[in-house]
C-alpha cells in the first residue's frame, strides 16, 4: 500500500521515456544504412512498444487512483505520510494522462506513417 503512490508517480514516465527512446531509435534504425542487413521491422516494434507502454501507464493510473482513494478523508496538506501520499497520488493521476496521450500520439503516428522519406 505504501508503494502505490510511488508506482503511480514513477512507472508512467519510465514507460513513456522507454517508448520514446527505443521507438525513435528503431525508427531511425529502420531508415538507416545498417538496416540493409538487419531488416528491422519498424511497424512490429512500434506496436509492441505502444501496447507495453500504454498498459504500464494505465496500471500506474490505477495505482494512483487507489492511493487517492485510500487517503480519502485526508487533504494533501495533512501530516505525512498520508498527506504526502495524497499529494503524490493527485500529481500522478494528472501526469499519467499526459504521458498516455504522448504515447498514443507517438505510437499511432509511427505505425501509420512508416515511410523513410526525408522530413
Amino acid at each position: 500500500m505504501r508503494a502505490l503512490p510511488w508506482i503511480g508517480l514513477f512507472v508512467a514516465p519510465a514507460a513513456w521515456f522507454g517508448q520514446h527512446a527505443v521507438g525513435q531509435a528503431i525508427a531511425q534504425a529502420s531508415c538507416s544504412a545498417a538496416n540493409l542487413s538487419w531488416g528491422v521491422s519498424n511497424r512490429t516494434w512500434q506496436i509492441v512498444l505502444l501496447v507495453v507502454a500504454s498498459v504500464l501507464i494505465l496500471a500506474a493510473e490505477a495505482a494512483a487512483v487507489a492511493a487517492f482513494r485510500a487517503t480519502e478523508p485526508m487533504s494533501y496538506e495533512s501530516p505525512p505520510p498520508a498527506g504526502r501520499a495524497r499529494l503524490i497520488a493527485i500529481a500522478a493521476m494528472t501526469t499519467n494522462l499526459i504521458y498516455l496521450v504522448i504515447v498514443l500520439l507517438d505510437g499511432i503516428a509511427s505505425i501509420v506513417d512508416i515511410q523513410c522519406r526525408q522530413g
Binding site: L36, A91, Q118
Partner: protein
C-alpha cells in the same frame, strides 16, 4: 543534541562566533557559507550580464540600419556567439541556481547551510575561472564564432582554424563542472536537510522549481560535455566524430547538443516559475492555487523537455518517421506550462493583489511567457517550423521566453528579496518606473522580430541591404534595446541607492509565508537560532514556528528523511577552507594547458588536482553516510548519463554505416572481454559485503574482502590496459569514426575502473564508515558501465 535551556538571545552570540567566517578578503576567498557564495555568484553573474548586454547593444547598433559598419562580419560573429553563451551559461543559470538557489534554498527549508559546503565553494570558483577562461579567449582574438550552439562543420578545424572553438568547447566543459556540482548540491540539500516536519507535501513550490532545474542540469549537461569532448578531439587529436568522409556525422553534434539544449530552455525558466510562485502568495496574501499540480508541473516540464530535442532539427532531413516522436512531445509539454499559468492567474484573481514592483515584474513575466509560449506551439507544425527556421521569428520567440520568462522574474526576485539581503526597503516609485521602461523596451525590441522574421530576415547576418522592407523594424528593435538598457540602469541605480538610503525593512516587510522571512534581515551566519518545525507549505502563516533544537556545539545541522522530513541525525558541517579555490585554480591550469595543446603539462596539473583532493578528504567532517550516499548517487547519475551518451554515439555511428567496423579494421574479440566483464561484475559481491562489514565495525573482515575485490579489479585493469595498447598498434584513434568512438568509449570505461580501483584502495587504507556505502555504490556503477560498454561493442557485431 542541545535543546533550549537559555533564551535564544543569549544563545545567539555563541552561534555567531562558531559560524563566523575569517575577516576580510581571506574570509571571502575561503568561505563555505551559502549566503556569501550566493552573493559572490550574484555579483559575478551581474558583471557577466553587463558583458552580454554590451554585446547585445553592439549587435543592435550594427543592425539599426542597412549596410552598417559598426562591426565587421568576423567581429559580429564573435559578438553574437559570446552574447548567447554568456547570457545562457554565465548569467541565467548561475544567477538562478548559483545566486538565488544558494542564498535562498537553505533559508527556505530551514537549514543552516548546503549539504556539501566546500563543494559549493568549489562550484563558484570553477564558475568564475570558466568565465575568465572564455573571455581570455575573446581578449586574445580567439573568441568563439560559431553561435552558442556551435554547429559542426563550421566549428571544426578546416572551417575555424583559430582557437575560438577550442575555447568554446573547453569553456563549456569547465562551466559544466560548476553547474553539475551546484545542481547535485541543491538536490541533496533539498532532499536531506529540510527542517523537521517539512515533508514533500509541505515543501515550498520555489524549492520544487529548483529541484526540477537541478535534476535537469544533472542529466542534460553530460550530453553537452560529450559533444564538446568530441569537438575538442576532432580539432586537436585528429579523431573523426564529425567528419562525414571518415564515417562521422554532423548530425551527431546536433543530436547531442539539443538533447542538452532543449531541456536547457526549461532549466532556464523553471527557477523563474519558482520565483513567481514565491512572490504571488506574498502579494496576494493567499496560498497558490492547485499546489500539488504546480509542484508536479515544475518537474514535469523539465522531464518532458528531455523528449523534444529533435524539434530543433526539423530541417536537417532526418526521416519524418523520427520527427513525429518529437512533435507529439513538443505539443504536450505545453500542458504543464499551462497548468502553472492558470494557477498564477487564478491566484492573482482570487487573492488581494498588491501591485508592488516584484508583482509587476511577475505580471509582465506572465504576459511575456504566454506570448513566447504561444509562438513556441506554432513550431510543433513541422511545415511551419521549416518555413521560419533560422529567421528572426525564432529569435523573437526565444527572447520572449528567455528574457521575458526568465529575466523578468529574476528582476522581480531582486526587488522581492532585496530587504532580506540588505535589511533595507527599496524605493517603490523608481522600482515601478524601471518595470514599465523595461516592459515597453523589451516588447519594442522583440515584437518586431516576429514580423521581420516572417518577412524572411535570417538570423546571424551582420548586415542587410536596404529595400528589403526590414529597415523600420530593425530601427524600432534597436530603439527598444536602448530603452531596455535604460530601464535596467534605473533598476540597479534604485537598488544601489536603496541599499545606502533605504528605510529599515525589518525581518518580513511583505508578510510572506516562507521560512526565509522568519529570520532577521540580513540573516545571521547560522540562519536560524532555533531550527524551526514546519506544519505546512506556508509555515509563517501558521503562527508560532515552534522548534526545540538550538545545536550550538560546533557547526551542526539536522539531517532529515527524504520523503517525510523526520529527524534522522545531527551532523557536523565543514567550515571555511582554502581547498576549493586551490582546486579550481588547478583545474583552470588543466584547461589552460589543454587549449594550448600542452597535454603533458595538463596531465601534471591533473596530478596536482588529485593531490588537492587527497588533502580535501584527508580529514573529512563527520558526514552522515546517508548524505554522502546521496552525493555519490548524484555523481553516478551524471556519469552514467555521460557514458550513455558515448554508447548512444557508438550505436548512432553504427547505424550510418552499411558494414561495421569500417575501413578494414578487424572485428574486436568477443569472448574474452565478455568473460572478463563477468568476472569484474562478480566483484560487486565482495564490495557489498565489505561495505556492510565497515558499517558494522568489523575491520579485519572488511579489509580481507576489499583486498579480494582490489586484487581482481587490478588484474582486470592490467589486462585491459595491455590489450588497449596492443590494439593501438593495429589501428589508431585517427583512422576513422569507428576507431575514434571505439577508443574513446573503452578509454572512458578504463578511466572509471581506475578511479574505482583508487577509491577501493583508499577505503582499504582508511576503513571509513561514512564513505563505505558510497564507494561500494560507485563500484557497482563501474561494473554496470563495463557491461554496457563491452556489451555494446560485442553486440553490434553479433547483430
Amino acid at each position: 543534541m542541545a535543546t533550549i535551556e537559555l533564551p535564544v538571545e543569549q544563545r545567539s552570540p555563541l552561534l555567531e562566533r562558531q559560524w563566523r567566517d575569517k575577516p576580510g578578503l581571506l574570509g571571502w576567498l575561503t568561505t563555505t557559507n551559502h549566503k556569501r557564495i550566493g552573493i559572490l555568484y550574484f555579483w559575478t553573474t551581474l558583471l557577466l550580464f553587463g558583458a552580454g548586454g554590451t554585446e547585445a547593444m553592439f549587435m543592435r547598433t550594427q543592425l539599426m540600419q542597412p549596410n552598417s559598419h559598426v562591426l565587421g562580419p568576423a567581429e559580429y560573429d564573435q559578438v553574437f556567439t559570446l552574447h548567447g553563451i554568456t547570457m545562457i551559461f554565465f548569467f541565467i543559470i548561475p544567477m538562478t541556481t548559483g545566486a538565488f538557489g544558494n542564498y535562498l534554498v537553505p533559508l527556505m527549508i530551514g537549514a543552516r547551510d548546503m549539504a556539501f559546503p566546500r563543494m559549493n565553494a568549489l562550484s563558484f570558483w570553477v564558475f568564475l575561472a570558466s568565465g575568465l577562461f572564455l573571455y581570455i579567449g575573446f581578449a586574445s582574438k580567439n573568441g568563439p564564432n560559431g553561435a552558442w550552439f556551435g554547429f559542426t562543420p563550421l566549428t571544426t578545424r578546416p572551417y575555424d582554424p583559430s582557437r575560438g572553438s577550442d575555447f568554446y568547447a573547453l569553456a563549456l566543459i569547465f562551466n559544466g563542472i560548476s553547474s553539475t556540482l551546484t545542481s547535485s548540491n541543491l538536490i541533496v540539500t533539498m532532499l536531506k536537510l529540510r527542517a523537521p516536519g517539512m515533508s514533500l507535501n509541505r515543501m515550498p513550490t520555489f524549492c520544487y522549481a529548483f529541484l526540477a532545474a537541478s535534476f535537469g542540469l544533472l542529466f542534460a549537461l553530460p550530453a553537452l560535455t560529450a559533444d564538446c569532448v568530441f569537438l575538442f578531439l576532432d580539432r586537436n587529436v585528429g579523431t573523426h566524430f564529425f567528419d562525414v568522409s571518415k564515417g562521422g556525422s554532423d548530425l551527431l553534434w546536433q543530436h547531442l547538443f539539443w538533447f542538452f539544449g532543449h531541456p536547457e530552455v526549461y532549466i532556464l525558466i523553471v527557477p523563474a516559475f519558482g520565483i513567481a510562485t514565491a512572490i504571488i502568495p506574498a502579494f496576494t496574501q493567499r496560498k497558490i492555487v492547485a499546489y500539488p499540480l504546480v509542484a508536479i508541473a515544475e518537474l514535469l516540464v523539465v522531464f518532458i523537455g528531455f523528449g523534444v530535442w529533435a524539434h530543433h532539427m526539423f530541417v536537417t532531413g532526418i526521416p519524418t518517421i523520427s520527427l513525429v516522436f518529437f512533435a507529439a512531445a513538443t505539443a504536450m509539454v505545453v500542458i504543464p506550462s499551462a497548468i502553472q499559468v492558470f494557477s498564477w492567474c487564478t491566484s492573482l484573481i482570487t487573492g488581494l493583489p498588491r501591485f508592488k514592483t516584484p508583482l509587476l515584474f511577475i505580471a509582465g513575466f506572465i504576459f511575456m511567457f504566454v506570448n513566447g509560449g504561444l509562438t513556441g506551439i506554432m513550431f510543433v507544425a513541422i511545415p511551419f517550423d521549416q518555413q521560419v527556421h533560422d529567421t528572426y521569428f525564432v529569435i523573437a520567440h526565444f527572447h520572449y521566453i528567455i528574457f521575458g520568462a526568465a529575466v523578468f522574474p529574476i528582476f522581480g526576485g531582486m526587488y522581492f528579496w532585496f530587504p532580506k539581503l540588505t535589511g533595507k526597503l527599496y524605493f517603490e516609485l523608481p522600482g515601478q518606473i524601471s518595470f514599465w521602461i523595461i516592459f515597453a523596451g523589451t516588447n519594442l525590441l522583440f515584437f518586431p522580430m516576429y514580423i521581420v522574421g516572417l518577412l524572411g530576415m535570417p538570423r546571424q547576418i551582420y548586415t542587410y541591404p536596404s529595400g528589403m522592407g526590414w529597415d523600420w523594424y530593425n530601427a524600432a528593435e534597436t530603439a527598444g534595446a536602448y530603452l531596455t538598457a535604460i530601464g535596467i540602469v534605473v533598476l540597479f541605480a534604485n537598488l544601489v541607492v536603496s541599499w545606502f538610503r533605504g528605510a529599515p525593512s525589518g525581518p518580513d516587510p511583505w508578510l510572506a509565508p516562507t521560512l526565509e522571512w522568519a529570520t532577521s534581515s540580513p540573516p545571521p551566519d547560522y540562519n536560524f537560532a532555533v531550527i524551526p518545525t514546519v506544519t505546512s507549505a506556508y509555515p509563517k502563516w501558521d503562527g508560532d514556528l515552534g522548534g526545540t533544537m538550538v545545536l550550538d556545539v560546533g557547526h551542526q545541522q539536522p539531517v532529515s528523511t527524504a520523503a517525510d522530513a523526520g529527524l534522522a541525525e545531527v551532523i557536523e558541517m565543514p567550515h571555511s577552507s582554502p581547498l576549493p579555490i586551490l582546486l579550481a585554480s588547478a583545474l583552470a591550469l588543466v584547461f589552460g594547458c589543454l587549449v594550448l595543446n600542452k597535454f603533458a603539462s595538463a596531465a601534471l596539473c591533473v596530478v596536482l588536482c588529485a593531490l588537492i583532493l587527497v588533502a580535501w578528504f584527508w580529514s573529512p567532517p563527520k558526514t552522515n553516510p546517508g548524505v554522502a550516499l546521496w552525493g555519490m548517487t548524484m555523481l553516478v547519475a551524471s556519469e552514467l548519463t555521460l557514458l550513455s551518451c558515448l554508447v548512444a554515439t557508438f550505436w548512432y555511428l553504427r547505424l550510418r554505416a552499411p558494414h561495421w567496423p569500417t575501413g578494414g579494421i578487424p572485428e574486436p574479440h568477443v569472448v574474452v572481454p565478455l568473460v572478463l566483464a563477468g568476472v569484474l561484475l562478480a566483484t560487486s559481491w565482495p564490495m557489498h559485503l565489505a561495505s556492510r562489514a565497515v558499517r558494522r565495525g568489523r575491520v579485519a573482515a572488511a579489509r580481507a574482502l576489499l583486498l579480494l575485490a582490489l586484487f581482481v579489479q587490478a588484474g582486470y585493469f592490467a589486462y585491459e590496459v595491455n590489450d588497449y595498447r596492443d590494439q593501438l598498434h593495429v589501428f589508431d584513434v585517427t583512422r576513422n569514426a569507428y576507431s575514434s568512438i571505439y577508443y574513446v568509449l573503452l578509454g572512458a570505461d578504463h578511466g572509471h575502473v581506475l578511479v574505482g580501483l583508487l577509491l577501493t584502495g583508499w577505503l582499504l587504507f582508511t576503513v571509513r564508515r561514512s564513505a563505505a556505502t558510497g564507494i561500494a555504490w560507485y563500484w557497482h556503477f563501474v561494473n554496470v558501465l563495463t557491461v554496457l560498454v563491452v556489451g555494446s561493442i560485442t553486440a553490434v557485431n553479433v547483430v
